[in-house]
Point group: C2
Chain length 227, copies 2
């Protein structure tokens, strides 16, 4: 049975791929390059694809920066060293317009071609409470689109959306990854790495990751510019 996994090379999507592999799916990884600053994630995603023994790994370039509208696609500075309280308030500037809708729709296209029964996404409500497209009701609505808008759905084989990390804390995700033997040194989370690809240690994503490792009582194996 085939499953498409959205794989950014980040910590969450890598643990998600590991969960899918443990469940016994044949994995088809999809990495979407969306004009973000951290193209280093592609190299990570390739290593992850090899590690999970993916049947196939597609890398799709999609220049969302033509629309502008978010710090992650080049319009505005990535905020640094924000407190947990500041990070919790409202929709972050790193929100990419309709990102998960776009990602899931591309995963759906891939799923139709490889006749996959499932799409796995590393969406998470706790650390990304400000992102509307990480909420369970959004994922449920997208599953309905997948059922109604595809040949697979018409044939009664609608694709299911799986978000196994949806309700987990970062520490729980790290713990789950450890149990599954995830090579965290392969993964990458920074919104704003330097030219060599080294994580900044100060953006929201780095801070959440570092706190997650601390709470899990583990050391993050990747190097940081500042920590």
């Amino acid at each position: 049975m085939n499953a498409v996994v959205l794989a950014s090379g980040g910590l969450d999507s890598t643990v998600t791929a590991a969960v899918a592999r443990q469940e016994g799916w044949d994995l088809y990884l999809l990495t979407v390059l969306y004009g973000q600053r951290h193209q280093v994630e592609v190299a990570c995603a390739k290593n992850v694809a090899a590690w999970v023994e993916a049947k196939d790994h597609k890398v799709l370039t999609l220049d969302l920066s033509v629309f502008g509208g978010s710090a992650l696609v080049g319009d505005g500075a990535v905020p640094k060293n924000r407190s947990e309280q500041d990070r919790g308030g409202g929709i972050p500037v790193t929100y990419v317009p309709a990102r998960n809708t776009v990602f899931l729709s591309l995963a759906l296209a891939f799923a139709e071609v490889v006749q996959a029964q499932s799409i796995f996404i590393g969406a998470n409500v706790l650390d990304y409470s400000g992102y509307p497209d990480c909420r369970p009701e959004f994922l449920q609505a997208f599953q309905e689109v997948a059922r109604l808008g595809t040949k697979l759905g018409l044939e009664g084989r609608a694709v299911k959306i799986h978000a196994p990390l949806l309700q987990m804390s970062k520490a729980q995700i790290i713990q789950r990854g450890r149990e599954l033997g995830v090579p965290f040194e392969m993964t990458h989370s920074c919104y704003d790495p330097d030219e060599a690809g080294m994580s900044c240690g100060q953006c929201d994503s780095c801070l959440i990751r570092l706190e997650g490792f601390r709470q899990a009582g583990r050391e993050d194996p990747i190097p940081y510019q500042v920590q």
Copy 2:
């Protein structure tokens, strides 16, 4: 008030743009290049954008051919000279996996950035009965995704999906386009044009278009290789 219009340079999307313009929206056109054979449509879309006085026109390249899976993205021959009966049966090989889901998700990203209240799409159930993602229930489900998965939706300004041609025959679409002064010579429908961009006159899309003009009692102003 802003509206995003999915504009392929084809007949249906051009009439759709004309309808949106007549309703008084400020138009933001989006053309998605998805590795299809008929990139000539971009040139058409640019002319259409000028004709409807679009505030902006974005052209986004998205190589869906990496997934394979359809005649329109380079995997298999485009069928020619099929009867209406043959064309009506099941899902055509020209069906592109999850195409409208992908297009609408990109339109949604654009809509978030320009704070659009509407997305217009030239979807049509009659001529494309085999395409699951041209059905009203699919469009309704996508509207729910747009409401739940975006910042605009969270703020109570959810984007509406408009498909003004949904229940019209091709002859009715042509008639509506005539009333709105649509320059049909700017538009292009062929799945398999020659290198100079001339329409084949034999693929399903050409046959449907030509029959539509006949039924509307009009002459199609574009040239064909065979007619």
